[in-house]
């Protein structure tokens, strides 16, 4: 990728910068003065084909407009809320992120912050360093972490990793998310205030979007209460920061451990004097090991793009979940990859496809996908594999595609979900009682219905006919059958 012009928006990682410099044509945005950046972009507009942003500094529509040769945005971060995805889609710019690699780090820090905040570890450290142990005696009494009720906002990968760690401290786990997840030992609360009212430590671990902005508001903080502790390792904008500050100052909230803030790098100065908060400068994934892994992913994505190969961790497309990664499922995966859709799948056992994310249950798969494709064989295990619970997990913006067999889907439940708006849409080639199609579907404008024509092309039908003839000929000639089943 020697000829690939890459714009790095800030000095985010020395190894990444060094490798980009070695392997591409690197443009360092920060080397031009802040008020001359537009000129800088204009001067190099025809060369810059890739931009590497990170969490604090993204890519906005103006930058995308200023770079007519831009092909790919490869973000050195998991969250891409500061990348204008709509503008990227409009321009056909591909987007990649660095999922998974930092899950452990962020979860480690979340639990570390909870212990540090409850046990006042940094405060004790300052106390000892100031020589006060000897002159003033023991530092203050603090409360136990083990056994505290931990509430998690968002039970995605990071939320689950936090839950796993907190469980080892005998903490009862509860959570809030858009839909209930298949973890019976964790208690689900359909609303955030109830979750906050029933936990001692509230961990914010959801993604930031218009629905979760300021999800931790005054009501939630008050429900958490004067003994409660808030841990935020997600994004500053999840929390109404002025409300958080006044709750801490007025002792309506017990404490906080914060890695993220609304206006980084400015943490609210009112918090600096409080001894019931622990403040760290957005270091959730800032470990040597993880930054190296993230940098390698950015480089590999850029390389794949330059070589016209499938991206490793595309984000621009919809997340496609495939039930059954057999021949058809794999062929679907290969095709959607070309649309930069991240591929997830469910199968009874995990397959050896490192580029695709495995989910051990269909509900989890549905919860992590925008489009769910049924591509498994029909048998007693897979009948109604897409049931009401799966469709709830897929959600009101999810789309179900069935190219398997009608009975894979609980058709009555699907019709009800579509009617209620609990499922976003469907594309159906097969039905439970063909050639009968549920009448309720006929009037809907968010479904596409075709009469079981999955393989009904001239070419395929001719190939199928040739195979039938070939098998008969082989049988008559006493030769091995071409496609023997029994």
């Amino acid at each position: 990728m020697d000829s690939l012009g890459v714009l790095l928006v800030a000095p985010m990682n020395a190894y990444l910068e060094q490798e980009l410099d070695r392997r591409c044509r690197l443009f360092r945005l920060w080397e031009s003065p802040a008020d001359r950046r537009d000129d800088y972009l204009r001067a190099h507009a025809s060369s810059i084909r890739a931009v590497v942003p990170y969490a604090p500094q993204g890519v906005d529509a103006a930058m995308i407009d200023a770079l007519p040769s831009l092909e790919i945005v490869s973000s050195f971060s998991v969250g891409i809320d500061r990348v204008d995805l709509d503008a990227c889609r409009r321009r056909g710019v591909r987007v990649t992120n660095t999922p998974d690699v930092l899950t452990d780090d962020v979860a480690d820090l979340a639990v570390g912050l909870a212990i540090a905040a409850l046990r006042k570890i940094p405060q004790a450290d300052r106390y000892v360093r100031a020589g006060k142990w000897k002159s003033k005696g023991d530092f203050t009494l603090t409360t136990r972490f083990s056994g505290k009720r931990v509430g998690i906002l968002g039970l995605g990968r990071i939320g689950l990793a936090v839950a796993k760690r907190a469980e080892a401290f005998d903490c009862p786990i509860s959570y809030h998310s858009r839909s209930e997840k298949p973890f019976p030992k964790y208690k689900f609360y359909p609303n955030v205030v109830d979750l906050a009212a029933n936990c001692d430590v509230l961990v914010v671990a959801c993604s930031l979007n218009p629905e979760t902005r300021h999800i931790v508001n005054r009501k939630v903080i008050d429900a958490l209460g004067p003994e409660g502790v808030l841990i935020n390792i997600a994004r500053g904008a999840h929390v109404d920061e002025p409300e958080l500050i006044s709750a801490l100052l007025e002792k309506r909230l017990g404490g906080a451990g914060l890695d993220v803030f609304e206006d980084e790098p400015f943490a609210p100065e009112q918090l600096f004097e409080l001894d019931n908060v622990v403040l760290v400068p957005h270091v959730g994934s800032d470990t040597e090991e993880t930054c190296r892994a993230m940098a390698d992913l950015v480089l590999q994505n850029l390389e794949a793009h330059a070589l016209n190969q499938p991206l490793l961790t595309p984000f621009s497309g919809k997340r496609v979940g495939i039930i059954g990664l057999g021949r058809i499922g794999l062929a679907v995966a290969k095709r959607v990859e070309a649309f930069d859709c991240p591929v997830n799948y469910y199968q009874r056992t995990k397959q050896d496809h490192p580029g695709y994310t495995y989910y051990p249950s269909v509900v989890e798969l549905a919860a992590s996908s925008d489009v769910l494709v049924v591509a498994c064989p029909l048998n007693e295990h897979t009948r109604h594999i897409v049931n009401r619970e799966v469709m709830e997990a897929l959600g009101p913006r999810g789309v179900l595609i069935n190219i398997g067999r009608g009975p894979h889907v609980d058709e009555a439940a699907m019709v009800a979900a579509l009617l209620d708006g609990r499922l976003g849409g469907a594309g159906l080639d097969v039905f439970e009682d063909e050639p009968n199609v549920p009448e309720a579907l006929l009037g809907m404008d968010n479904v596409v219905l075709v009469p079981h024509v999955g393989s009904a092309t001239h070419e395929t039908r001719t190939a199928m006919a040739d195979l039938v003839l070939g098998n008969l000929e082989a049988h008559v000639a006493g030769k091995p059958l071409l496609t023997q089943v029994v």
Binding site: A10, P11, M12, D104, D105, A107, D108, L109, V111, G112, L113, I115, A116, R119, I121, P122, A124, D125, R126, Y127, V128, R129, G131, W133, K134, G137, D138, F139, L141, T142, T143, R144, F145, S146, G147, K164, R165, E167, A168, F169, D170, E264, P265, F266, A267, E269, F272, V278, L279, V280, P281, H282, V283, D286, T287, E288, E289, T290, C291
Partner: protein
């Protein structure tokens, strides 16, 4: 059960001598059943007849003190470790010693994990950095830290605290190994027969064993060199487990990567050389100081005294 207090005063309550000052939680729980007398103030009759001695914090209980109490049969400690008591003298006299059993285990294990994360992820230093306004003023980011998940953690002493540390860190994806006097059949972790070998195969060494003649200064230069320049030492056991002067030297010379210390050889003295280091996290022997732990230990102490004075088996007798 202890005999109930009678209305005609405290004389019918059994005497419990106090080796050090009471704290309110103990007084509230024990005063109704026992006559609590500071050992230093006890008159001759009380000293001659007292059968039980209680330590609240970690006062030294010397052979001379023990010899001065001819009727003594029981020393009740309020700590997990009983190294502050002259156990040889107790053994010779057939005096039973009880400890805090598991009352502190969860807090001690939590704190060990908290210190470990705080050192590797620089939590305390990062907090200080934000509070002094350095984040807002700085160009670029705070220096990278070291990952917790996946680290090899060696635990010295797989007792009730060490076992809980192991379980907690296993959930962080850490690889656990341990050293103790003998391998534990029930432990699913790799055993190393020496601390040096354990240190050589670990990124972090957590000390959670008792301080005895065998374990005193078990972590010397050789162990710290085996742990190495990326290695971290976490001590929630006793300061005496570590050669502290050598620890300071190893940290200064970069032989050892970092340390999380709640205990010291000569508390409350903390080597001033450590105060300026940002690869260490220090605290004031407070791992187990929570209301939950204090309530737990009060319950264990009372259960031991009640059992003793009613002739029942002790709840948490230490093998001498």
């Amino acid at each position: 059960m202890a005999p109930p207090a009678t209305q005609d005063g405290s004389s019918s309550k059994p005497i419990v001598l106090l080796a050090d000052p009471l704290i309110p939680e103990f007084e509230q729980e024990l005063a109704p059943s026992y006559r609590l007398l500071p050992a230093a103030d006890a008159d001759e009759a009380a000293a001659a007849s007292a059968r039980a001695l209680l330590t609240v914090d970690l006062p030294a209980v010397t052979a001379a003190q023990i010899d001065a109490l001819p009727a003594l049969e029981l020393v009740v400690a309020s700590s997990a470790g009983v190294d502050h008591i002259n156990l040889g003298a107790c053994r010779r006299r057939g005096i039973a010693v009880t400890n805090a059993q598991n009352a502190f285990s969860a807090d001690a294990a939590d704190y060990a994990v908290g210190l470990l994360v705080a050192v590797l992820r620089r939590v305390a230093a990062a907090d200080a950095y934000v509070r002094r306004g350095a984040w807002a003023a700085a160009a670029g980011d705070y220096p990278l830290a070291s990952k917790v998940s996946g680290k090899r953690v060696g635990i010295v002493g797989l007792g009730s605290i060490g076992g809980l540390v192991a379980r907690r860190l296993a959930a962080f994806g850490c690889v656990i190994a341990y050293n103790s006097r003998s391998p534990k059949a029930s432990a699913p972790y790799k055993f190393y027969p020496s601390v040096r070998e354990l240190a050589a195969e670990s990124d972090v060494l957590v000390l959670s064993c008792a301080l005895t003649e065998e374990t005193r200064r078990m972590v010397g230069r050789e162990v710290m060199e085996a742990l190495g320049k990326g290695g971290v030492l976490v001590n929630v056991g006793r300061g005496g487990l570590v050669d502290e002067a050598e620890l300071v030297r190893c940290l200064r010379e970069g032989v050892l990567g970092g340390a999380g210390l709640d205990v010291y050889e000569n508390e409350p003295e903390v080597p001033p050389e450590l105060w300026g280091m940002d690869n260490v996290v220090l605290s004031d022997h407070r791992a187990v100081i929570t209301p939950e732990s204090i309530q737990g230990v009060v319950d264990v102490v009372k259960a031991n005294l009640d059992a003793f004075f009613s002739g029942k088996p002790l709840v948490s007798q230490v093998q001498l």
